[in-house]
Symmetry: C2
DNA sequence: CGCGAGCTTGACGTTGTTCAACTAGAGTGG
DNA sequence: CCACTCTAGTTGAACAACGTCAAGCTCGCG
């Protein structure tokens, strides 16, 4: 759904076109433009900080980000890895205000920061737009929840297979890709130890399912990987 | 948030009052009333079936339900346990239509089934109402996600402690309660084996933290339970 | 040339699951 | 009224899965 909506978006004006063509008057577009700013984030930089007040909704139009959750006594945890184009932070919009997660650039990113109060104001006037946003946000949280469910009761093989398929299909959109994440980060996404992630990946390599050379990953036998994912 | 909204609701007319007083015209209320029905569900009966098309949003005003997720080769999984009053199924409203979870009565329930198309129609006309619903739904999914995160990286002690605290605080709202769920169901909620759940519960009992006699559970030392939950 | 970060491997101990056996209570049919 | 059976709860023992530790490797960068 989100892909369908944001397909072919590769510059900032596209977002206005997206909303505008269907739902927004030209003065509304000007209002958003006047209260938003385009920012560039380097790898590792924080777009949204956990615990801070929500002030912006972020439209990511270039790069890859991760949602992380940190808590004392806990290991870090990566909740999602998302590539542009994507709308981020919408779910926090009407929560009393604090961001529950951090959003961090995994490679260099370009994003449009949209003032949350301006957006709210527009949504109040325009229920079609509000419902569209509702739709986008609930679709995204549905994906996260399904991901959680899978990770919650699969074993290591299934988890690693899931991650590889996810990276291939949803993030890099290719059978062969150059990772912008470390093994440690991927293990935090899978919810397993780094060492266990590595040994499992190597096992897949020995079985001829993937090739991995440090940051270069290639999925050789996708059908087999899907089978492993299914069996858990 | 949801508690605040639904506080003091104990009959069907209250839901209309809730929406109506603030946002709805009286003819809208009549429209909902004419397209909704009050139903009673016995323990174990299905309110919403996974995979079916979303046709209704459910306002649960009496009883306790569980959200479950089933998949071939998988163990059952319980995602949430929720007591009335609560709004259920809102997140699916604008997904292309299929329910991702089942909703099953854990004890006898009374619910108001609101036709989804009628509600959509109202939301289209009334953006304040749409945003309110957005707010409720995102608050609920936030709770689920935090719950998932906790379960994902805690050990058995922490998981069981979490479950007991959750049942006490959010479901039965008392230090002492009579379970309407089996040990097996609670283990599916915790994401651990039934046997491991039982042994851990018994260990807590030996340590003087809880009393458990079959369906009767009493939390004796809440502070200790919270500590265990925190330590994981 | 050396240092550090990321990656890799094997050995070991902990944690959690599975299996099997037993108990108690509730419902059923003779 | 008494077997009989079925389900839920319980316990201990064997086994498998996973995380931790220790050590070595490679590569890029100062």
């Amino acid at each position: 759904m989100i892909n369908e909506l944001f397909a072919n978006l590769n510059n900032t004006s596209a977002i206005f076109k997206l909303f505008g063509d269907q739902y927004l008057k030209s003065e509304d577009i000007e209002l958003i433009k006047g209260n938003s700013q385009k920012l560039i984030f380097n790898k590792g930089e924080v777009l949204i900080k956990q615990g801070s007040r929500s002030t912006h909704v972020v439209f990511l139009f270039k790069g890859i980000i991760k949602h992380t959750y940190q808590q004392e006594n806990y290991k870090n945890m990566i909740l999602t890895i998302t590539s542009a184009p994507s709308l981020i932070g919408g779910a926090n919009m009407f929560n009393d205000g604090k961001n529950i997660f951090s959003v961090i650039a995994v490679e260099s990113c370009e994003a449009f920061m949209i003032d949350i109060n301006i957006l709210k104001q527009l949504l109040m006037q325009n229920s079609q737009l509000a419902l569209k946003l509702f739709d986008i946000v609930s679709e995204m949280s549905k994906d996260s929840i399904i991901n959680f469910i899978n990770l919650a009761h699969k074993h290591v093989n299934g988890k690693v297979a899931d991650i590889l398929l996810y990276l291939s299909e949803s993030v890099y959109k290719s059978q062969k890709f150059t990772l912008s994440l470390t093994r440690r980060e991927l293990s935090e996404f899978a919810g397993i130890s780094e060492i266990n992630f590595i040994t499992t990946l190597k096992k897949f390599e020995k079985d001829g399912i993937v090739n991995s050379n440090c940051k270069e990953i290639e999925i050789v036998n996708k059908a087999q990987l899907e089978l492993i994912s299914k069996l858990g």
